[in-house]
Amino acid sequence: MTVVFSMFLLTLLLITAIAVVHAGNLFVAVMLSGIFSLLLALNFFLLDAADVALTEAAVGAGISTVLFLGALSLTTDREKSPSPHRLLSLAIVAVTTLAVIMGTLDKPSFGDPEAPVQVHVAPWYLETTREAIQIPNVVTAVLSSFRGYDTLGEVFVVFTAGIGVLFLIGRHSGTKPQDIGPPHGEPSGLRHYLIPRLIGRMLVPFIMLFGLYVQFHGEYGPGGGFQAGAIIAASIILYALLEGEKRALQVLPRSVLVGMISGGALLYSAVGVAGMLMGGNFLDYSVLLDDPVKGQQIGIILIEAGVGITVTGVLLSIFHAFAARGRF
C-alpha cells in the first residue's frame, strides 16, 4: 500500500514539475516549486530517508522560497521572450528521456534487497556503527565519521558558495548606503501587519529551540548539523522578515556571521588535526579520548557543531546579501 502512496506522490511531483516549467510567470513558478519541495520531502519520507526529508523540509520550506523571492524582487517576475527553439529542444529532450528510460530497464527492481548497491558497503556501515560508534542514527555516523572527508569537502563547498555570494552582492557598489532601504522613511519588515507579526514573534524562539534540539539529538533521531543550521537560519530569517533586516543585523552582525562561516569550518578541520596530533589519522576520532567509542562520539558531536555553525552563517549571510540589495 505504501508503494501505491509513493507512486501517487511521484505522479503529483511530475505534474508539479511540468507546471513549474510551463508557468509563464516567475512568481508562479517559485510558488509551484515550493509545492514541489513539499512533495519531494514526502517522497523521501516514504522512501525511508527521514534525515533527507528533514533536510529538504528545513531548506525547502523557508529558505529557498525566501531566496528566490528575494532575487525576483531584485529583478523581475515576468518572463518575456518565448523560447526560440522550443520544438527542437522538445525533440531532443524526448529522445534523451527515452534513452534514460531504456537505461533504467536494466536496473534491478525497486527495493530489491539483493541489488548490488545494498550488498557492498551498507551492511558493513550498519554493523560497524553498532560496534565501534554506538549511536543509533547510522546516517549521522556515516556522515561524520566514516565519510568525514566527504563531509568536510561539502562544508567547504558551502563555505565557498557563501563567500562567493558575499563577493558578488555583499557590498553595494554603485548605490550609496542611504539609498538602500524602504522609500519615504517606511520602516522595513511587516510591522504594519499586527497579527502575523505577533504570531511570528511567538514562533521565533520555538524554531530556534527546535533547531538546537535537532542539532544535539542528531545522534539519536533524524537530525544533525546541516538540518539544524538551516532551521536556526530560518528562525532568524523569520525575525528579519517581521522586524526588518536591520534589526536582525543588530542581533547577529555581519562580522559575527563571517566569523561563524569560517569558525565552523575551522572547528571541523581542527578536530581532524587534533586527531593527527594525538597519533591517529586525519579525522580519526578514536584517539581523542582514552575510550575509542567515547572518542568517536565526542568527535561526531564536535564536527556536527562545526557543520551547524557554518551552515547557519552561510545561509544567513546569503539572506542578508539579498535583503540588503533591495527592500526585502
Binding site: 511530475l14 513549474v20 516549467v21 516567475l26 513558478a29 516549486s33 514541489f36 519531494l40 523521501f44 522512501l47 525511508d48 530517508a49 533527507v52 531548506v59 529558505i63 529557498s64 531566496l67 528566490f68 528575494g70 523581475t76 518572463e79 518575456k80 521572450s81 527553439h85 529542444s89 522538445l90 529532450v93 524526448a94 534523451t96 528521456t97 533504467t104 536496473k107 527492481s109 525497486f110 527495493g111 534487497p113 548497491v117 545494498q118 556501515y125 550498519l126 543509533p136 542514527n137 546516517v139 556515516v142 556522515l143 563531509t151 561539502e154 563547498v157 558558495a161 557563501g162 555570494v165 552582492i169 533524524p222 544533525g224 546541516f226 543550521g229 538551516a230 551552515v311 546569503i318 539579498f322
Partner: protein, 118 residues
C-alpha cells in the same frame, strides 16, 4: 506489477529531462536556475530510490528493531549534504543573476547577447 517496479526510475528520468528542458529551452535566467533545481531534485530522488530496501526500516536503531532490515544509509548521507550544498550553489547562481540584471538591465539571455554584440 513487475514493470511497475521501475516506476520510480521512470519518474526520475522524466523529472530529470523536465529540468533539462527548462535549462536548454528557456531564455530567462531565473527559469533556468529553477530548471537546475528540478534537475538536482531528480538526482536526489534517484539516489534515495536506489538506497531503499523493500520492507526495510529507516537506518536509525531503536530498542525494538535490532534485527530488522535497514535501507541503505550511504545514499542518504550523500543526498543530505547535497541538498544544503544545492541551496548554497543556487543562491550563488541567483547572486550572479542579480548582478547581471544590475549591469545589463535584463535577465533574458537573448537580450543580454544582443547587448554584448553591440
Amino acid at each position: 506489477m513487475e514493470l511497475l517496479g521501475l516506476y520510480h526510475y521512470w519518474v526520475f528520468a522524466i523529472l530529470l529531462m523536465t529540468g533539462f528542458y527548462a535549462v536548454v529551452a528557456k531564455v530567462n535566467l531565473i527559469k533556468k536556475l529553477i530548471g537546475l533545481t528540478l534537475f538536482q531534485a531528480a538526482v536526489f530522488l534517484l539516489y534515495i530510490s536506489v538506497g531503499m530496501v523493500e520492507g526495510g526500516d529507516a537506518p536509525i536503531f531503536t530498542a525494538d528493531n535490532a534485527d530488522s532490515l535497514f535501507s541503505n544509509p550511504l545514499p542518504q548521507v550523500l543526498i543530505l549534504t547535497a541538498i544544503v550544498v544545492g541551496i548554497s550553489t543556487t543562491a550563488l547562481g541567483l547572486a550572479i543573476v542579480v548582478r547581471i540584471n544590475e549591469v545589463y538591465g535584463t535577465i533574458e539571455e537573448d537580450e543580454i547577447q544582443e547587448i554584448d554584440r553591440r
